[in-house]
């Protein structure tokens, strides 16, 4: 049976407060957040369609921002990893990639190893402020 390509954590707090808290725990965890994109604001500005708040934080594995790394296409596919923070009523959901490659040969590649360690670090951070949503 196929599993989801993404995993979801639920934070039992409204969006603004959850986002502030998440940024604070990320900052204290040595994870490199290299940018932010407000998706709901972009869609509102471009299409005049209102969506519940949704922001992307871009996270990079430390080994990918080192000197003299020759980036390949798989590194670029995985990094920066998108951390999707979105409002869902009084709660907030956080989604990120947990997919494995179809090609078994890529499992041990630098890109997937780096992404896996980043995903583990993100899970540890999110477990401090939220809970993992288990597939139905």
């Amino acid at each position: 049976m196929l599993t989801d390509t993404t995993c979801t954590y639920v934070i039992e707090e409204p969006f603004d407060r959850a986002l502030r808290r998440l940024k604070k725990v990320l900052a204290s965890s040595n994870l490199k957040i290299s940018g932010e994109l407000n998706i709901s604001a972009r869609i509102q500005a471009e299409l005049m369609i209102s969506l519940p708040p949704c922001v992307l934080l871009f996270a990079s594995a430390p080994e990918m921002v080192q000197e003299n790394i020759a980036l390949d296409e798989y590194d670029a596919a995985m990094m920066p990893l998108h951390l999707v923070i979105s409002a869902r009523g009084p709660r907030t959901e956080v989604h990120f990639l947990k997919a494995v490659p179809r090609s078994a040969g890529l499992l041990q590649s630098r890109a997937f190893e780096a992404a896996r360690s980043l995903q583990l670090a993100l899970s540890r951070v999110l477990e401090r402020i939220g809970r993992l949503q288990v597939d139905a």
Binding site: L2, I39, L51, Q66, R102
Partner: protein
């Protein structure tokens, strides 16, 4: 079963800065926005004395396709915007586009697959049009 390749690679016959500018214009012509750009560390080419420009990862999207992808669930933003790698190879510039639907195993967020494929289609059209214009100029 999707038989498309996981990665499409283009060798643009231009030096890095010029190619990057041309890629932006070609994407814009296809209504694809570069919403963020990440610059990674520069590397030295083993066969060249000249240092390479730092590779860039362009994050690209289209508001309407992004909206379509996110309409059924925000988890689709794990894949939107899509990533394009632009790397300096001296006299030419390598551009790589990964198709996440082919690369990754598993169930995608509902409604995400079709907009991803359509955005990839626009990127491919942009790159093919850029490559054709370059080939014509060289000829």
């Amino acid at each position: 079963m999707n038989t498309a390749p996981a990665v499409r690679t283009y060798a643009v016959p231009e030096r890095f800065d010029k190619a990057l500018k041309a890629i932006r214009i070609a994407l814009s012509d296809m209504e694809v926005d570069v919403v963020r750009e990440f610059r990674y560390s520069a590397t030295d080419q083993a066969d060249s004395d000249a240092p390479c420009a730092a590779p860039r990862v362009l994050l690209v999207s289209s508001p309407i396709l992004e909206f379509e992808a996110l309409a059924l669930g925000r988890a689709a933003a794990v894949f939107f915007p899509l990533h394009i790698l632009v790397a300096d190879e001296g006299e030419q510039t390598r551009v790589s586009v990964v198709n996440p639907v082919v690369l990754f195993e598993g169930r995608f967020p509902p409604g995400a697959g079709a907009p991803i494929e359509r955005l990839l289609g626009r990127i491919e059209s942009a790159m093919e049009s850029l490559m054709q214009s370059r080939e014509m100029r060289i000829a």
